[in-house]
Symmetry: D2
Subunit: 349 residues, 4 copies
Amino acid sequence: MIIVMEPKATAEQINIVKNSLEKKGFKIILNEGDVMTVIAAIGDKRLVDPASIASFDGVREVKLIQEPYKLASREGKEEDTVIEFPNGVKIGGLERPVMMVGPCSVEKDFEGLLRVAEAAKEMGCQFLRGGAFKPRTSPYDFQGLEGKALEYLAKAREMTGLLIVTEVMDTADVPLVEDYADIVQIGARNMQNFKLLKAVGKCPKPVLLKRGAAATIREFLLAAEHIMCNGNEKVILCERGVKGFDSTFTRNTLDIAAIPIIKKYSHLPVIADPSHGTGRRYLVEPMSKAALVAGANGLMIEVHHDPEHASSDGAQSLSIPLFKETQRRLNKLIGRIDYDNRQLKTQIK
Amino acid sequence: MIIVMEPKATAEQINIVKNSLEKKGFKIILNEGDVMTVIAAIGDKRLVDPASIASFDGVREVKLIQEPYKLASREGKEEDTVIEFPNGVKIGGLERPVMMVGPCSVEKDFEGLLRVAEAAKEMGCQFLRGGAFKPRTSPYDFQGLEGKALEYLAKAREMTGLLIVTEVMDTADVPLVEDYADIVQIGARNMQNFKLLKAVGKCPKPVLLKRGAAATIREFLLAAEHIMCNGNEKVILCERGVKGFDSTFTRNTLDIAAIPIIKKYSHLPVIADPSHGTGRRYLVEPMSKAALVAGANGLMIEVHHDPEHASSDGAQSLSIPLFKETQRRLNKLIGRIDYDNRQLKTQIK
Amino acid sequence: MIIVMEPKATAEQINIVKNSLEKKGFKIILNEGDVMTVIAAIGDKRLVDPASIASFDGVREVKLIQEPYKLASREGKEEDTVIEFPNGVKIGGLERPVMMVGPCSVEKDFEGLLRVAEAAKEMGCQFLRGGAFKPRTSPYDFQGLEGKALEYLAKAREMTGLLIVTEVMDTADVPLVEDYADIVQIGARNMQNFKLLKAVGKCPKPVLLKRGAAATIREFLLAAEHIMCNGNEKVILCERGVKGFDSTFTRNTLDIAAIPIIKKYSHLPVIADPSHGTGRRYLVEPMSKAALVAGANGLMIEVHHDPEHASSDGAQSLSIPLFKETQRRLNKLIGRIDYDNRQLKTQIK
Amino acid sequence: MIIVMEPKATAEQINIVKNSLEKKGFKIILNEGDVMTVIAAIGDKRLVDPASIASFDGVREVKLIQEPYKLASREGKEEDTVIEFPNGVKIGGLERPVMMVGPCSVEKDFEGLLRVAEAAKEMGCQFLRGGAFKPRTSPYDFQGLEGKALEYLAKAREMTGLLIVTEVMDTADVPLVEDYADIVQIGARNMQNFKLLKAVGKCPKPVLLKRGAAATIREFLLAAEHIMCNGNEKVILCERGVKGFDSTFTRNTLDIAAIPIIKKYSHLPVIADPSHGTGRRYLVEPMSKAALVAGANGLMIEVHHDPEHASSDGAQSLSIPLFKETQRRLNKLIGRIDYDNRQLKTQIK
């Protein structure tokens, strides 16, 4: 931690900061410049809240040197986390990128869901996604089928062998959702719902954590840390677009660079959601490709058997024929990436 | 709702959109230009999800004309909502702006809390704020005293007569918090925790809803709508800063213009939180004044008896002496505003 | 300057950075932690481009401690800069806040301009603003009357005694504009047009520098530094709104906090432009008041004799009657601020 | 154009708007809803400034239907613009993506520049980039060698056959720069320097226009329109990152989605600059690949013979060996894209 003092800070103010940190076990180095004094405090950041140091008189600014997440950080664990499912599917590291596809929300028409699942299976996808509980900006929009939807997903899993990804929105629903899901999803709007993070941190299933629309990468990794420090280290991060100043052509700005950045600073798997990340059907394919070549361990894409009558997010959903056509091209690219990754694995060995 | 078709949309595509909307009870007017056709659909937006219209082939864009919130809108209720508490304190409309002050989180030291409460009382403030459950970006930071904190707040209320504002973070805690609080607060990070909004929508106490750091004003009012359509119309909105591109000098950008904008489009009371909105002690006073003259119905300010040892947010907390000095100047401004407002009330009558 | 090394940086990499900085005259202190080494380099930042240090192998991040602007900084010059005009009008410090009003662009109808100028004079304003050269987002919109407009402004000055503020867009026009203007304005879109900053830096007239829509406060002050280091220290800064993620209700987010922040870190006068900062007529008054109580040394407001037929920015312009009504209330507030400031001046003496 | 009236607008206010637009040749359709009236005005937007309509009393909002750019729009010209250089190199459409590489700024050491140029040539690149005039945020940083730099670039062109891209910052320098350059570059900070856009609009050389850090896609295309409507239709657009709320890990957010969006709405070639777009060396390769698979017609990358002693932007520059290694992998990807594009061209024929 670096503490920059105000140019006018008195010797006494500097001393108070110094002593307070020394008491907490930090090693202190004073750097006295012509204009201002800078204090370097070396030690475990987690022993002290930087904001409390910033509140001392005469302190201009506190700068963190070491990232405040520990379990999520590559500094603590160098090798990539690879999450393996009972059926052998793996996510992370140099494993073949996975595909999670399905409707935004599970609707009453089970046949429609099944048709999507069958198309996904046919195209080699590994996961079926679908919302049972739906966070909706407007209270007048469709809110999800809840328990019924979870049963439908389980039935589709039984019939196709796909694994199930579905969102949980409230601590009270965690036991129910973790019973049905293979991956429990935390939506972007709940990325800092800390009670919910704690609850899924105690759950045995892997968690897919979506980045909040205004979350910095540091806040995103700290949200993962909330889950991990409660015992669940199987966290998959999902970049799904951040708020930008131009909403004429897209809902969000899909931050592709977040993928290689997170891979540098964390060992956790990262996937991308180009459907929510753009909100436009025609952008799903180019942004899927961009995410894959930038290093994504998988993609989450919305597919609906009848987008024009979808209960939510129809505008960004692919119809089944369009999905198949797109997936064919994505599979070609995934094949190449997988081939390159396998070469890399051999070299590393 | 205005539907802009693609320049190349076929007559058949236009017809499908037209028929689908007519079936849902909309009156349709076709505007055929040289380049593209624009469809005006007049009727109740809530009968149809605009995203589902956007998903039809040939549709370029769907533009909403009428705001999608109804209960929160001034179109539905012209006169200002004024919330009155059992002790006669009122928030909203042309009532004297109120002050909510106190520490970010309630800590073990009850005496400290009491000293803040007594100073608040002395300076004419109406509310004591303090977190029992604390949302913290890092899992290693102080998370709040929970039940113990609620008891402390209740005790401070008893001793000073101040009303209590405190945050609830999870549906499971709503019964406990509503038992103790005079106002139940929803934090910025939970602004779109829809299960929680629903739960406080069923609670008898007024709700203070903080704006999410990346929430548009429309999303903010829709979050209020989630509470209101569950039966609780006593919602106080709180502007507390949005994410900006410059975090060198402040934590957030306090969006002062949001105050008069919300007052134009909604009848609900609006307050501002300059402490979280800036994250810097020296900005609390000028931004408090800015919010008040822009029309805020109140302010929420962090005050701590010992900011240098606060468990959270010390850097933006005022010490008791600094608070008193600041509040003295704010009271002068509040007095002038109250005088002007009373003149206005007389004129209106 | 603080240089954070990568956890894996080698002793040799650390040495190369250290030696390179020592050669440039910096005093070096090594802070070796368990995880990473942090180098404090104490000396004149301007001797070295931090980006070049960031390019050494093994460097994770370079953090600036001292702000890179010098002439604009309060560290170099503690007392407020007050700019005085030949007619005795002053801007800055504790002087009475000034008003700059007028149409967005000067149009063919001189009588209209004169009516605005006369109303401004009547209401006690000091400056007439009006664009001769107009930056327009679309090439098909009105681009300004150029030389003709400058003559009109000069004529209005002669008839009313108001001082003239007008924008220059190109180095080639600087001699012409500085001939007519009392204050030469640099528009937000040209805030980083460094050739133009250099040109007005050599001009004898005060410069009004508008903040770019995506400029950080640091970039804004560095743009002022470009002007000042070319010899012109009479720079007035103008906050006029930054790009935000919500453009439904406003064009920009007027960053009121920028006013007290700049006042803390710089001695230059700061004004605000609530017309461009919001783009909405009904927001001009509340945001004007907010800027004034937050410490602005003046306001720039658009007034048009016939907003419905303005060549540009009609939606945010006040008509003459609305301006008078608004200005009456603003004058009341300015009077109180001036009174308080004069008390302060007496106390300081 | 759609004009949404306030719910309380009077019949007379509606009539004034209607008549004013009819006089300007628009066809008017009134859509009267229960709550408010919506006016559709069909005709040529450029006959009227929407802001002037927005300034009428009773108008809530004016929404544009047709994009305000015409020459840059794909609606006006369906086939892709392909720019061909005298040596046969082509940019745009389904042509092989091109590479523009070189140092941020041209420095005194000609041998260094030549080594970069030779490496670029060896790796199959088509263009040498290098700044003669350098826009610098701080006035104390290196500002460019100007004329000398242009001579160096010309000499390097002569020796390697590479084409030259270099920036012009001021109208006064346009004749000089267009004499030397094969492509004249407009930097991001000058994207709305309209006098400069006009000047290069009259120049015979192709123009590379960089997106401003806070420019919407609409503003970006309108800036291109400024150049095109002055006679120069050879405009290459360059995405180089926009301002975001997280600057911990990158300088800017490279908006990859802008590439397919612009390709949908405009016929102009689009390239990406991952060096400025991220500011970090390790992100150049993944973001280059992302831009290419998303449809970019080329890339601009910073390469320096000695990044640790570069006069500017060393942290994001590749050294020559790192460049070669990266370019080898990019060439492999470019080869595949080119192969796919040629297949597509055959199918289209």
